[in-house]
């Protein structure tokens, strides 16, 4: 199966040649991990510095870019690397947000780090259930099933309205900056740091996994499922693994959102969210985690630009509210038709041209 949307990975490492175990150097997992950790540390320092330069609303947006990036990166592993399409990732964000809200409301003494770990576990469990149920489905069948998930799951909040708060959702209070730092650091700033820290840790795990054996197997399955199976790759298990990791990322992203906003409402996890995550992924570029970054950036700031443009032109609210939707849709169509590698693809081609000069 060839695809113009995906970046071409070198197909060489699908089946590693069998070297004698004694002479073969240890796999280069450690340097890769170290590089990723160093990059993450740099990114975190950059975010911390950035939050000192901008106002409180901008800090919220920075945090939003962070957790959306995580959700999109999870989707990247699923769609970009393994070729399974999920239209239901908003549902996993829903699970993470509500798990956070319920924990904070019913067990206020649980520390934040434990909540985050818990939401990842819950998200992964949900991913196991959904992934195992949908592992045999292909293309449009999988898309249809996950579409039903995206529309159906938030309705749980309405059905169990006494526990999950109905359409108003759950409102709770999250601690902001620790009291020792009062006066130095604002709550928004602190929350942006915490979210970016969480996101970067998760991204290091994701990046290391997709550079390693799992990523290689996923790309092999994506390119040719039957050939991968014949090469001895456990296709079903690998696909479910990708789904589970991706669900865990979505859930953690939902937890970060709940932590930032202090609310969890069913309407914020609509089908439109799931679709815009996918849109952002395609826009950013399938095949690289950088695509997730560009996608999240675009999701937050293009929406903002659309709103501001509509305000500037004095458009009515019904027009202004729909500007981002139309804009993203148009962008998706244009990208698929004319520019299938997304922002990251365009950038790396550009840098290739520059380097060759």
């Amino acid at each position: 199966m060839t695809s113009s949307l995906r970046r071409d990975d070198p197909p060489t490492d699908v089946v590693a040649p069998k070297a004698a175990p004694s002479t073969r150097p240890r796999p280069r997992i450690r340097p890769v991990l170290l590089t990723h950790l160093a990059a993450a540390l740099l990114a975190l320092l950059g975010v911390v510095a950035l939050t000192f330069l901008v106002g409180p609303i901008e800090q919220l947006r920075i945090a939003k870019v962070g957790y959306l990036m995580l959700a999109i990166a999870g989707l990247q592993l699923l769609v970009g690397a393994s070729g399974q399409i999920s239209l239901g990732h908003g549902a996993f964000m829903f699970i993470g947000a509500y798990a956070t809200a319920l924990t904070v409301l019913h067990a206020p003494m649980v520390p934040l780090a434990a909540i985050m770990v818990l939401t990842v576990v819950v998200g992964c469990l949900a991913g196991i259930v959904v992934g195992a149920a949908t592992a045999r489905l292909h293309g449009p069948y999988l898309a249809g099933a996950t579409l039903a998930l995206a529309v159906g799951l938030p309705a749980l909040a309405l059905y169990f309205s006494d526990i999950l708060g109905g359409s108003n959702g759950l409102l709770f209070k999250m601690r902001g900056a620790p009291p020792e730092l009062a006066g130095l650091v604002t709550d928004n700033q602190w929350k942006a740091w915490v979210i970016w820290f969480t996101v970067l840790v998760a991204l290091v795990v994701l990046a290391t996994l997709s550079r390693g054996r799992l990523g290689r197997r996923l790309r092999a399955i994506r390119d040719d499922e039957a050939a991968a199976a014949m090469a001895g790759i456990p296709v079903g298990r690998t696909k479910v693994t990708a789904f589970v990791i991706s669900a865990g990322c979505g859930s953690l992203a939902g937890a970060c959102e709940a932590y930032l906003l202090g609310t969890a409402t069913p309407s914020s996890f609509s089908l439109a969210l799931s679709l815009s995550l996918l849109a952002a992924l395609v826009l950013g570029g399938l095949g690289s985690l950088w695509g997730a970054f560009w996608g999240a950036l675009a999701l937050v700031y293009l929406e903002l630009a659309g709103k501001e443009l509509a305000d500037l032109l004095g458009l009515s609210s019904s027009v202004a509210d729909n500007v981002p939707l139309v804009f993203f849709g148009t962008l998706l169509i244009v990208i698929v038709m004319a520019w299938p590698m997304g922002i990251h693809g365009a950038l790396s081609r550009l840098s290739g041209v520059v380097r060759r000069r």
């Binding site: 949908t134 159906g152 309705a155 749980l156 996918l278």
Partner: protein, 287 residues
């Protein structure tokens, strides 16, 4: 018992709508191997245009005709302008393209007609005949979908045009060699399918019209198509009816909030036994 009977009829009528939407997806999938995620948006546009015409003229049937005509036209334009250029590439491209179109059209509908709900009355005024457990609206839905399915069956099975369309969908190369205008046939397929989608929209929308009103219906429609197997029109009809009746019971006895999740459960239960749908034939995947 009375509730059971009325739920059954309601389920059959709703199922007919899901079946129609599923049918429109299957026709397009058969012809071009694309699942048209923009189908609800095309139908939505058609229904909004019908709403405008009905408001202006006061006639439901004029609006109905508008919906059918604009639905067909939208399908044709979509196929020619958007789908054809990406059709031969990966299925992911087509899925993302139609999702993009879905977002654009839904947004446009919101821009033009506003995000608020408009009242959109059904063709027959609601008269509850105590003795009859089925409403005129439900009879209309069943009859309309029944007629469409029959006409479609006759068209595909017994006319030269239908034969050409099937040939173009089944094996484009050989069809072209035999003198079938394959491109035209595919476009025609999209037109017919979008008209059926518009019909499903007209039946599903009442009583309230808003840009997201067809989202849930579309989920059931795609569930119906997937249940029956995307390759089989009869499968879509059967899938729609099964789903409609099943969901009607869930909605009536458990809670209407859970219908979408119930659809997901039915979908997963069926697909885990038969991953390509109830009525699918075994297919060979090329290595």
């Amino acid at each position: 018992m009375n509730q059971f009977i009325s739920l059954t009829f309601e389920g059959i009528a709703n199922g007919a709508i899901y079946a129609a939407l599923g049918l429109s997806l299957v026709i397009i999938y058969q012809a071009t191997r694309v699942v048209n995620f923009a189908q609800p948006a095309l139908a939505l546009m058609a229904v909004y245009l019908a709403y405008t015409v009905t408001q202006a003229t006061g006639s439901y049937w004029l609006g109905f005709a508008t919906a059918m005509a604009s639905g067909t036209l939208l399908g044709v334009v979509t196929e020619r302008l958007l789908v054809r250029p990406v059709q031969d590439k990966s299925p992911l491209n087509a899925i993302i393209l139609t999702l993009g179109l879905l977002m654009v059209l839904q947004g446009l509908a919101g821009m033009i007609w506003g995000n608020l709900q408009h009242s959109f009355p059904p063709p027959m005024s609601f008269r509850d005949l105590a003795a009859v457990p089925i409403s005129p609206e439900e009879i209309f839905a069943l009859a309309a979908v029944g007629v469409v399915a029959t006409v479609l069956f006759l068209l595909y099975r017994f006319t030269p045009l239908g034969l050409r369309m099937r040939a173009a969908a089944f094996h484009a190369e050989s069809a072209r060699l035999s003198g079938v205008r394959v491109g035209l046939m595919l476009t025609l397929g999209w037109g017919i399918a979008s008209a059926i989608g518009a019909l499903a929209g007209m039946l599903a929308v009442p009583p309230l019209l808003s840009p997201t009103v067809l989202d849930a219906v579309f989920v059931y429609g795609i569930a119906a198509a997937v249940l029956g197997g995307l390759d089989n029109p009869f499968g879509a009809l059967a899938g729609g009816l099964v789903l409609g009746v099943g969901l009607s019971y869930v909605s009536g006895y458990v809670g209407s909030e859970l219908t979408t999740l119930a659809a997901l459960a039915i979908l997963i239960a069926v697909l885990s036994l038969r991953p390509a749908g109830l009525f699918s034939r075994a297919t060979v995947r090329k290595v």
